[in-house]
Amino acid sequence: MAVTLDQTIAQKQHTLLSKLFASQTFWVVIAVILACLFLSFATDAFATQKNLYNITRNITFVAIIALGMTFVIITGGIDLSVGSVLCLSSMVLAVTMHAGYSIEIGILASIATALAIGAFNGILIAYLGFPPFVVTLGMLSIARSLAMVASNNTVVFQFGPDHNKLLALGGGAWVFGIANPVLYMILLALITGFILRWTKFGRHIFAIGGNEHAATLTGVPVRQIKVAVYMISALSAGIAGIIQTGWLGAVTTNLGTGMELQVIAATVIGGANLAGGVGTAFGAIVGAALIEVIRNSLGLLGINAFWQGVFIGGAILLAVLFDRIRNFRRND
């Protein structure tokens, strides 16, 4: 009897393969690969170096913020302010550099702004018990308005003495002809993945999303961690803003409008659960990739761009549908 008990305990419940098939991220990867294969054969323009360069670079801005959003969503929260924070950070960078300061000071000011906004969101949510949806909805409005105030609602396209450095930072391709933003994205994804899997902080984020009350009772510093995740989310928006400024070479006050929805869509398609407790860095990237491939393919296939929303919305629903089907099967 004891032997059988030990045997059962020793037996791993999931083989690697069954785990893979059960993961939403896996199926989204398959979908991306199939779409890419299809487009390579169906169109001449897809598998060109220039198009792939564009796609990979376009993925990055949504993907980088989706990485930050993943932290928030795992805790069971939401951050609607990221699009506006991206705009404000870009504008702070642009205005600072336009005024003649160096790129270092510009980036520092931009990052500091993002972190301050994240801390503000986090403190209201964690210490004063405001609902995340409401706080970040308010910040969505506030941050964009501040960006307009900072720039007097003008377009900034001259970045002072370090103008060219900034453009190279965002627009260059320093390694193997891969667009710089893609390199930043990969680096940030690795860092995010590491934090989620290998640190105490990452473990506590999952615990808060799973059962906040339990996390509190077992001595997890829930409030501090919640403030930290909103700071990370805002930071990711700030970083994306800096890179995007360098790439575009100009900042307008409508930069990043509606981006929060794309970011949340990418996170959810990649397998994160809005109820909290589930999410991965890889999933955020893959979700962003699927959205971009859909966008790109519609253009190449000559489908009216107005259909974009339908396909992206459909992808969101489909991803969640798979999740529901798995749950139904489990409950049976």
């Binding site: 008990l5 059962t8 305990i9 791993k12 419940q13 899997r197 290998w198 640190t199 105490k200 473990r203 506590h204 999952f206 615990a207 999303g209 799973g210 059962n211 009350h213 339990a214 996390a215 009772l217 077992t218 001595g219 997890v220 407790g277 589930v278």
Partner: protein
């Protein structure tokens, strides 16, 4: 010597006297059933021992030394562990992750420290084996039965050298077979010299596993006697007030 000794403990919230002049002592390796109707003061008493509330009057001593608790974490540092009624488990994490929640093992140097999965799985597995539970450290808690979930919550208390474990209604919401499992877990704790305070409404559980029973009514301790010298009928009388005091 008593592991925990309460002397003339009272707690009032404004005009409400939740606990009134209670003294009791708990010996190592003893299972004490704490019984009483809703509002009798059981929870308030336990929360004072757990560091959630500070007593209005009276003193607590642990191993002969004064015990003053400001936060639940301090209680834990003194070797007082609590199994909460809702178990405080995260469904999305593995059994081992739940056991180590809030005190994860890490390896590495200085700021570069990563979670030590291997050690946590190993130690959690050992604890489950000690508890004779078939819980597997790598399983997600959401896939577990009520008894296994109890084992995870109880395993938490065995991580550190707990001296006293407070269990809040551990058998309230689980099946009959799982109740037996949980009572066995309690016996394992006792056999290791840990004192267990079992807060329960269920008469059979207390009479099966406890050595002593303490009954509270309206904030006062109305009985404190060995199980052998009491009976379920007497305890019921004490809880309801049909028997005034013994």
């Amino acid at each position: 010597m008593a592991v925990l000794e309460l002397t003339n403990i009272s707690k009032h919230f404004g005009a409400i006297q939740a606990v009134n002049d209670v003294s009791l002592s708990i010996e190592p390796g003893q299972v004490v059933g704490l019984m009483g109707d809703n509002g009798a003061g059981k929870s308030t008493l336990v929360k004072m021992i757990a560091g959630n509330f500070r007593p209005s009057h009276g003193t607590m001593q642990m191993d002969g030394k004064d015990l003053i608790l400001h936060k639940p974490v301090e209680a834990r540092q003194h070797g007082i562990e609590i199994v909460h009624q809702d178990l405080a488990l995260c469904n999305n994490l593995t059994a081992a992750a739940n056991v180590y929640l809030g005190r994860e093992l890490r390896r590495g140097v200085g700021p570069f420290r990563i979670l030590d999965y291997a050690s946590m799985y190993k130690r959690a597995g050992q604890i489950f084996a000690e508890l004779k539970s078939e819980t597997r450290p790598r399983d997600l808690v959401k896939q577990m039965s009520g008894g296994q979930r109890q084992a995870v919550a109880i395993a938490r208390t065995m991580l550190s050298q707990a001296k006293i474990v407070l269990m809040d209604e551990p058998t309230a919401a689980i099946s009959v077979r799982q109740v037996a499992e949980v009572l066995n877990l309690i016996r394992h704790l006792r056999d290791q010299g840990i004192a267990v305070v079992l807060i329960s409404h269920r008469m059979p559980d207390v009479f099966t596993v406890a050595d002593r029973v303490i009954v509270m009514r309206r904030g006062r301790k109305v009985a404190d006697k060995t199980i052998a010298s009491s009976s379920p009928e007497e305890v019921t009388g004490l809880i309801t007030g049909a028997i005034e005091q013994v």
